[in-house]
Symmetry: D2
Subunit: 286 residues, 4 copies
């Protein structure tokens, strides 16, 4: 049990310059005994209202150094404070505020919401177990208008899809990776120094002047994983889910026109999905 | 990988009387080899477009005897037709159409959408493993305006929640149960004969003339599980998640009024959540 | 300016039996002078926080006799209390809670949310003008699987739609009517005695044993309007919007099957929409 | 009546460089006679399917030079082609794809969806009336963490809001302006040369080094309008709606802490809203 979508803004001021972090936190606990379920005995139950208070108190006291560090602080607090807690998991997601710029000059206290991918993280710990930290980005919508195809697939009497060597690839990415048993990582430093977001975009799109051919969604997923694993040494395992939107080249023959992939209709349902988890020693699951 | 939200309506006619089943299907597969991810070799890949075709062909040929049977049929088809498939999972969810009635008379071909709980099911199978079937109901919103409290909970310096012995209990239920290794079950018969939905409502609300006191969300979750397990012998394990909306008794003192729980404000975020899985031999996980 | 989505639950108790009304209220005002916009002078501005307080105080004091009466009470309060208000509009929408029944017996304090059409109303008043009251129902999703066609329409070189005399008609209805300059109406009485909701369902679907042929969405819209106007004398003008979901009969020839309208695919975007406003003296606008 | 959410992607290629425009179009018509409503006579009705075809054919033939020009082209087509059409309105909204950049180099064919404000436009025409064009931006979420207050407002016994001279101002902007009876405008040129979006951001936030004090949402709305009207001569009338999210400074006294506006809770419902329409000769409506 736990509390979901604890939303708050943490404001930090350095003179006239303001820094903000707005987040959504979910914290879940498991207790030593299920007596509140079976007997209605609440004596060990930490109310979800208290869970919320603790999250807000930690935000007030420590600020949010990074999403990951904040999630770790929350887990540590529950483990060290409450002996009836045997498991704690905390998910933190960021509202994508960006500082406004006017003619290139950063504004001291104005921000705009730019939801082109949402950063999140998760920390979890069992009593006597290691603390495990995950980080990721979701709701990242990308499109490439060529250098994508799908050929040579398995066919039988239920196959009606034609082979295509030049199609549109459009999808929403969910990427989540594990930092293993993290020690004293500076998580924002890993994120920015290794340009993880840029890695993902580059693996999806290829070189800016020509792109790179994708023979399937699956291969694109794998490229993203391989590039992140090769560039970011702290990442142990990476899961990528690509939910793709099919763009149908509209047949305009009955309207007397030839449509050379100029007008395409997005097909939102049903949509294909491919997911893969890749680790350093080729642990594999699809 | 697979195809999500394959939506269709299956219409069945018996003379002037029409019967409909509109569903949303998600089918996911895992293949023997990850070569399409690693090498871009698509030769074993069944396109998600083909997966969609197969689902629609099965609906056309067999109809939808029950959600569960339809999910089983799909799993069986993939397992028996494609030797490269090592795992298949199918989720089916129903659009809650109900036959219209005029002055108590059922209409032969008119329907209304009544989303007071959505039935769904899931079937999954590993090659050489048993077929496992789950069923459930979700998005069921219930409220009781008394006979609910929360007292005697754990307190420390971060506790600000007062004890209450008469509060509103309002939440959205998600219930999912396993039928174990099902043989030739008539799933709709189990659903209707055992009145599973009525069971859940009854366990939540208690006797119609007085209700039954709930000392916590957790206990209410447990009551639902116990009643379903006791009344439906085919159910092996049942998971219940209760996402609750807190109703705050508005303090109207500064407006010169005494509010005796007459005006309450729903607090949608953050919300508490409690989840429990209960099996016949008291396997427990929260 | 004003306050939107003021949500609250009004609980009324008669002994052990509880009655609830959960609503969402939006109240907007226009003031005599725009000085707060032009000069930043707030001296006449009633804060939206005060607007919220007033709505809640009225709910506490008067209860919610009917949605319409509550909206009228709010408008009256602003007009009589604040001379700087020149216009007020209030929208009230109901959360569709229904009393639970166990084996036909109504429960004293348990409810279920059944969103099969949402009742709403609107009251508006200009200073020195009449109070105007609207009521309506929205998000009402209906389907008939036959007795619907669309033939004899205008054709040119851009027409690819075939004529059909037996198609599925499925849509979401929005109905809103005016009670004119209402005096002392008992609005719930009008709603229930005249069975307005039943009227709409009946006009949509026709007799239960055979239905009634609809030659177009437009004609169905008109039927609904005509029936409501003929049965409910207090209704002056009625607007109906029908957003229809097209169900495409899947062509299964390339899968070796003949699909006799048995498997149909809902097409959610784009969707057609037709709107019409009909009054007692045939004021017309589409 | 008409067709809503006609979604498509228009792809234009110049050698290896690709240009995309994905839009959502709604087109509504009114006909000379309501005979299809009253008599079920469809002979003048242009099916919504044909409306969709026409939109797609125009996109194929002309491309989308600008959202506004495309909306105008659609209106013109219906007015000149169908004498039974007495009114046509077309709304076009853009999916906010942006070209990807790698280390500052634009990618030839890869794009990312960046929904930080959605451009839209509307064109409407009555037969024998002028063509009127509107343009706008919506879903633009902005925040300033200081230089905002609300003081000196009207107070009575229902006022509980304290005066504040340093609060957070956060809101979602909807801006829509009219270009009057436009002649041969180059609408994208107006948009980009006049930096309309930048104007709105600047009027909201003030100078980057210190901001500008906002005494109310209303005044901020007015500032935006004044700046756009002063900088963009083609704009005749501008409507701005600001839906604001209140950030509540959490009282942490009962948790033993002093919260100096460091931890704030967003209150999403209810929310305040202020709307104003401002024209060149001070036509005013709130």
């Amino acid at each position: 049990y736990g509390k979901n979508t604890i939303k708050f803004l943490r404001l930090h001021r350095e003179g006239k310059k303001h820094f903000i972090k707005e987040v959504e936190v979910c914290t879940h606990l498991r207790l030593t005994s299920p007596q509140e379920y079976l007997e209605g005995n609440n004596s060990l139950v930490i109310p979800t209202d208290t869970i919320k208070n603790i999250v807000l108190v930690l935000a007030k006291k420590n600020g949010i150094p990074s999403l990951e560090q904040f999630a770790i602080d929350i887990c540590n607090h529950f483990m060290t404070t409450f002996c009836q807690v045997v498991y704690v998991k905390t998910y933190v997601q960021e509202v994508p505020w960006q500082r406004l710029h006017e003619n290139g000059v950063p504004h001291v206290h104005s921000f705009i919401c730019v939801p082109d991918g949402i950063r999140f993280c998760e920390a979890e710990q069992c009593r006597n177990g290691p603390l495990v930290v995950f980080a990721g980005i979701k709701d990242l919508k990308l499109m490439k208008t060529t250098q994508s195809g799908f050929e040579g697939f398995y066919k039988n009497e239920h196959t009606t899809l034609p082979e295509r060597h030049d199609r549109i690839l459009c999808g929403e990415l969910f990427c989540k990776w594990s930092y293993g048993e993290c020690k004293d990582f500076d998580f924002d430093c890993i994120w920015y120094m290794n340009k993880i977001r840029e890695c993902i975009l580059e693996a999806f799109s290829g070189p800016p002047d020509c792109g790179e051919y994708s023979p399937s969604y699956q291969k694109t997923v794998n490229c993203i994983q391989m590039l992140v694993l090769s560039k970011v040494s702290q990442v142990q395992v990476i899961e990528v889910v690509l939910n793709n939107t099919f763009y149908n080249v509209l047949d305009m023959k009955n309207l007397g026109l030839t449509n050379d992939k100029e007008v395409l209709i997005p097909v939102e349902a049903p949509y294909g999905s491919c997911a893969c988890t890749l680790g350093r020693k080729m642990f594999f699951e699809a």
